[in-house]
């Protein structure tokens, strides 16, 4: 049964001194794909500046805002309505030839096609000393290995807010073993890639009705490419396969490609940003 969601994203930026010029780019509108349909998006800001819909370098929908007057405080609010299809994540059949599949993902052609999601980035580089953290079992299918990796990540890292931030690297996460969805996802992607599986960082919203971890901010999970299946979502923060509660906005190599808010602001002194996300769900009649 399809589910309808109303997602409200709010951000408030406050500056100590007047801001003379500012540009923002929001990457917060749910994408359209086979499992989700975007019904509407409504975006407002407190300065009544024009909201320009556009795309970013990877083709995801963005909204740019460039106020034409000075200000010290600005709030943004976006409300999106999405219909999510219920999909059975196990609706596939796998052949028994694990061996040939493993050979396939090691072929040059495959590596080139998925090169950008196999690449180590700043956030997905595993420190050399930790290179043996998770190795695939070649006797199991890729899918089974990934489920095990999902479980492993979930068990290995403890969900804890305010101990990491948007600049935290895997070195600290592996050492301290705590973090938030972004950190779980970076670790999961890095380990999948280390085992030759293309993995991408997904930014989106999580409907938390069922008590999942999601810290009332934007959520993050991973998508991995499995031959014979295609791209499939894994949420290591909650040890889940992504489902109808996961509403996707964008994907990329890591957080940097998917940051919900990028800005260039000309001002002096300190500033404060606050975000909040509310995902309200209701079953469609």
């Amino acid at each position: 049964m399809p589910l309808e969601y109303a997602i409200t994203y709010k951000a408030e930026n406050t500056y100590e001194n007047w801001v003379s010029d500012a540009h923002w780019q929001f990457l917060i509108v749910p994408e359209e794909n086979s499992s989700q349909e975007l019904i509407s998006t409504d975006f407002t800001n407190s300065l009544n500046a024009i909201n320009e819909p556009s795309i970013n370098g990877y083709g995801f929908q963005t909204i740019r805002v460039h106020p034409k007057k000075s200000f010290k405080n600005i709030t943004f609010e976006a409300t999106s309505k999405v219909i999510k299809k219920e999909v059975n994540p196990f609706d596939f059949s796998l052949s028994d030839h694990h061996h040939s599949i493993y050979r396939h993902i090691e072929s040059l052609e495959f590596k080139v096609d998925y090169e950008s999601f196999l690449r180590k980035t700043y956030f997905t580089t595993i420190p050399e000393n930790d290179s043996g953290l998770f190795r695939f079992n070649r006797f199991l299918s890729i899918f089974e290995n990934l489920r095990a990796l999902n479980q492993w990540t979930y068990d290995h890292i403890f969900f804890k807010t305010e101990v990491t931030d948007v600049n935290t690297t895997l070195y600290e996460i592996i050492k301290n073993r705590h973090g938030v969805c972004q950190d779980f996802t970076h670790l999961f992607c890095a380990l999948a890639r280390q085992n030759n599986i293309p993995a991408r960082y997904v930014s989106g919203y999580l409907h938390q009705g069922n008590g999942y971890f999601g810290d009332s901010q934007m959520h993050a999970w991973a998508e991995v490419f499995i031959p014979e299946i295609g791209w499939m979502g894994f949420d290591p923060t909650n040890n889940l396969i992504a489902n109808e509660n996961h509403i996707k906005v964008a994907h990329g190599k890591d957080y940097f490609d998917c940051a919900p808010l990028k800005g260039v602001v000309f001002t002096t002194g300190s500033n404060e940003t606050r975000h909040s996300v509310i995902v309200a769900g209701q079953q469609q009649q």
Partner: protein, 487 residues
């Protein structure tokens, strides 16, 4: 040995083993230089110095200068220049011209490929690391079709003549190659100082560069634009190449803008004029990729235009050179140029490549470490002659240091045999005489949609320190007017 009677060259000393541009293998003055040699010989050194000084002060007064960065202060300097030109005969030029076009076209096809199907990598002709470990590869360019199918609209190819008498390419500069304004200024200065000599030679004009550039940039306009509005974007007047930026804008008759003069609205680009916003269609950008759009690339860039990349991706503006072109400027890509040319054009390379050792390959790394004193070690991603070590110029201790650097990050370095750049008589202030100095040649190639152009001339760069091989202006190099003779 040819007898040198004339005053100007009476003390000219030729070193064995160096290829001297004005002498043939018998030590005689080459036919194309003969007349020039005789005419200059009629002057005394004193006359020559006077003319040379006049030319220099005219550069200074016209503000044709660059800034040199020093720890204490920046200094305004002229690009050292001497009045004895380098001559290239029509036959040799034909090779250079065809070779430069061939390379530019091959690089363009290579760029298209690595931002689309990546066939050349899948077929194992070049390694995947060329893109996966290049800082200049932009994932955002994947699948984008640049207007007219052109990435490297403007290329600067650095060519040398080795002591075997053959031309070799040292590098292809396809980010924002500079120097073309000096080609034209050098010609102007020489014409003013010694107009008489031009009567004896049929020299190709270099003053048509800007009109050709504009013409070709107009062929890659975005779809649906009739007469495109072209602008040049500069980082600003404190940039070392600002003179060139303003020169190009002025001679093309287009606006010279900075990032803050432009803005993006509904994915179209506009400039702020005294009469309100005006749409911009083609941007010849002299700003590196990382700085063009702070919302897409480096967020701390104040030189760029927020939203510019979105406008580009939507096809509403052309950027020349295209973003991501720098990946092919990498010295590691250079080493595959012969394969790249053969793969896309089914042709043999016209210009030679210098044999290159990849420190990323264990066997080649081993060779490099063992023969380091006979090699030039270059970082793969530095421009301007920075970070180059020439093996036979270093002490044992320095060699050890270089070895350690290379071992620590082999992917960052390539090594080449020490090429012996040809030498050319060059007037040297300190000795008040002509001496042999090493030279190279930077040519300028412009690719448009089904049209291309090579400037008939180029920047002959001179390593002013005796025996030095590094010709970059930031490293104390000078330049000469370069004459390409008509057929």
């Amino acid at each position: 040995m040819g007898s040198i009677k004339n005053q100007m060259f009476s003390s000219y000393q030729k070193s064995e083993g160096l290829y001297d541009e004005i002498h043939d293998s018998n030590g005689e003055i080459k036919a194309i230089y003969k007349k020039l040699f005789d005419i200059y010989g009629e002057h005394s050194i004193k006359d020559y110095v006077k003319l040379n000084d006049k030319a220099k002060s005219s550069f200074f007064n016209q503000g044709i200068t660059f800034q040199v960065y020093d720890k204490k202060k920046t200094q305004e300097k002229i690009f050292p220049f001497d009045l004895f030109p380098r001559i290239i005969g029509p036959k040799e030029w034909e090779i250079i011209e065809k070779g430069a076009i061939q390379r530019s076209k091959a690089l363009n096809l290579f760029l298209w490929d690595i931002y689309h199907d990546k066939r050349i990598i899948k077929q194992g002709i070049v390694p995947m690391e060329l893109i996966s470990s290049s800082v200049n590869y932009l994932d955002q360019m994947n699948g984008i079709d640049p207007p007219g199918g052109i990435y490297n609209h403007i290329s600067g190819t650095d060519i040398i003549k080795h002591n075997d008498g053959n031309y070799y390419v040292l590098e292809d500069n396809i980010r924002c190659p500079s120097g073309v304004s000096y080609v034209i200024c050098n010609r102007t200065a020489l014409k003013r100082a010694l107009f008489g000599v031009f009567n004896h030679y049929k020299t190709c004009s270099v003053t048509n560069y800007a009109e050709n550039l504009l013409d070709l940039l107009e062929t890659v306009k975005p779809n649906g634009v009739d007469v495109p509005n072209v602008v040049v974007i500069t980082p600003g007047m404190y940039n070392s190449a600002f003179y060139e930026h303003s020169y190009l804008a002025k001679t093309m008759g287009v606006e010279l803008v900075e990032g803050r003069d432009l803005f993006v609205e509904n994915d179209f680009v506009y400039m702020k004029t005294i009469r309100g916003p005006e749409r911009v269609d083609v941007i010849y950008r002299r700003i590196d990729d990382a700085f063009i759009d702070p919302l897409e690339f480096r967020p701390d860039s104040s030189l760029g235009v927020p939203g510019l990349f979105a406008a580009y991706k939507k096809g509403n503006v052309t950027l020349a050179n295209a973003p991501g072109t720098g990946v092919a400027d990498d010295k590691a890509v250079y080493t595959y140029m012969p394969e790249i040319i053969k793969y896309y054009l089914k042709e043999e390379p016209i210009l030679n490549n210098v044999r290159t050792f990849h420190c990323s390959r264990p066997d080649e790394l081993k060779y490099v470490l063992e023969h380091i004193s006979e090699l030039v070690i270059k970082p793969v991603d530095e421009a301007g002659g920075y970070g180059i070590s020439i093996g036979n110029r270093l002490s044992k201790k320095e060699l050890d240091q270089v070895r350690e650097q290379v071992k620590a990050s082999p992917r960052k370095y390539v090594a080449q045999p020490i090429m012996s750049l040809s030498v050319h008589p060059t007037y040297i202030d300190s000795s008040r005489s002509f001496e042999q100095r090493h030279v190279d040649l930077r040519t300028f190639t412009v690719l448009g949609k089904e049209k291309e152009f090579v400037l008939k001339g180029g920047l002959t760069r001179v390593a002013l320190q005796k025996g030095n091989l590094i010709v970059n202006s930031s490293q104390g190099g000078g330049s000469k007017d370069t004459w390409v003779l008509q057929k």
